[in-house]
């Protein structure tokens, strides 16, 4: 009951898991701020957003679990998918799993991911999969707020003190290396486009760059050019941080199978 589950190889399942795990792992990282926020109000705001993301992940994992059953594998529920996969079966881009860092890093990663997710949700509203379109419609409202929250803080920090600006610049430098993964296609994208399930990730790039430039430009920050490095989380090859994150996230279900309260 606490053994790892295996999923069938199917591009549409991967497409759903890439999104679901982006939400799940971002939510897990944001949740780490609970009790550590710079001020009480912000602590609550970050926890609220973490819960929004976990909620989005739940809906997507439920859908993916049903899809697993239809693709020749076993059907799974959201909890099995969230807690009983091995590291290599998680499909989030590496950026989502990087440690939460300082407040500037968290805010800028939130800006990157919430802008990206918002654009993906917008496109998914036309998905050929009705349930995915419905999830997207609900998630879009949440992502809009997440983006606004991150954008406001980006401007405050970028235009704040010497230290806050320095921290923003160094956060962007760290994040930039992981951006190509968010905009490069593979067979999973091709299959999703062919079936009408959702957009190719490369098609998000232009609008994403435009929205990012609008926010960063307000305080004269820029995204550094990407290097030759390519992160590979969405194909299941994660950074060294992922194992620790999963150990903490999965501990209860692995130690007390089926535990609930």
């Amino acid at each position: 009951m606490n053994a790892s589950i295996r999923l069938p190889a199917a591009p549409e399942l991967d497409y759903l898991l890439r999104l679901a795990d982006t939400c799940l792992i971002s939510g897990q990282r944001l949740g780490e701020w609970c009790g550590h926020g710079p001020i009480l109000e912000e602590d609550i705001a970050l926890a609220n957003m973490a819960l929004d993301l976990v909620g989005q992940a739940r809906a997507l994992l439920t859908l993916a679990g049903q899809r697993s059953g239809q693709c020749g594998g076993t059907g799974f529920d959201e909890d099995q998918l969230a807690f009983l996969r091995d590291e290599g079966a998680y499909r989030n881009p590496t950026l989502a799993e990087l440690p939460r860092g300082d407040f500037a890093f968290t805010i800028l990663r939130n800006l990157v991911l919430s802008t990206w997710l918002k654009l993906v949700w917008e496109r998914l509203s036309d998905s050929s999969e009705a349930e995915l379109a419905a999830i997207a419609g609900k998630a879009l409202k949440e992502a809009r707020y997440h983006q606004q929250h991150a954008a406001d803080w980006t401007v405050r920090l970028g235009d704040g003190t010497e230290e806050s600006r320095r921290r923003c610049v160094s956060a962007l430098a760290r994040i930039a290396a992981y951006l190509p993964e968010l905009f490069e296609d593979d067979a999973v994208d091709a299959a999703a486009v062919a079936s009408g399930l959702g957009p190719a990730w490369s098609s998000i790039r232009e609008p994403w760059l435009a929205e990012m430039a609008e926010v960063l430009g307000e305080v004269e920050l820029t995204l550094p050019e990407p290097t030759g490095f390519r992160s590979t989380g969405k194909t299941g090859r994660h950074s060294e941080h992922m194992g620790y994150l999963l150990a903490e996230m999965q501990y209860l279900q692995r130690a007390y199978p089926g535990g609930a309260w």
Binding site: I39, E41, E42, I44, A45, N48, Q148, D152, R156
Partner: protein, 96 residues
């Protein structure tokens, strides 16, 4: 933290649904009005408490002095005739 480095205090008013009035529900610290509205949303409406929020700087509220309480409010105690309960309404006026 010294008071001069602290963000100002804001009072938060939440309207539970359209047509009702905004009710005071608490306060929070925020650097400016925009942040105060955003934080009020996150702190005070996360359980579907509202559809609109107002914030106002606490130091902008002028309040009556607690030591004036006796002088201000006690004299109303025995003036029951100030309530409109001594009028007989005509039958044609119902629902009042």
């Amino acid at each position: 933290m010294s008071t001069e480095n602290e963000w100002p205090l804001w009072e938060v008013f939440v309207r539970t649904k359209a047509g009702l009035d905004h009710k005071h529900c608490g306060s929070l610290h925020a650097a400016d009005a925009k942040m105060a509205v955003q934080m009020a949303r996150d702190v005070y409406t996360r359980r579907q408490e509202g559809c609109s929020v107002w914030v106002v700087r606490s130091d902008q509220i002028v309040a009556s002095d607690p030591s004036d309480k006796d002088m201000y409010f006690d004299p109303a105690e025995d003036k029951v005739y100030r309530h409109p309960t001594f009028y007989k309404l005509p039958d044609s006026v119902d629902q009042m």
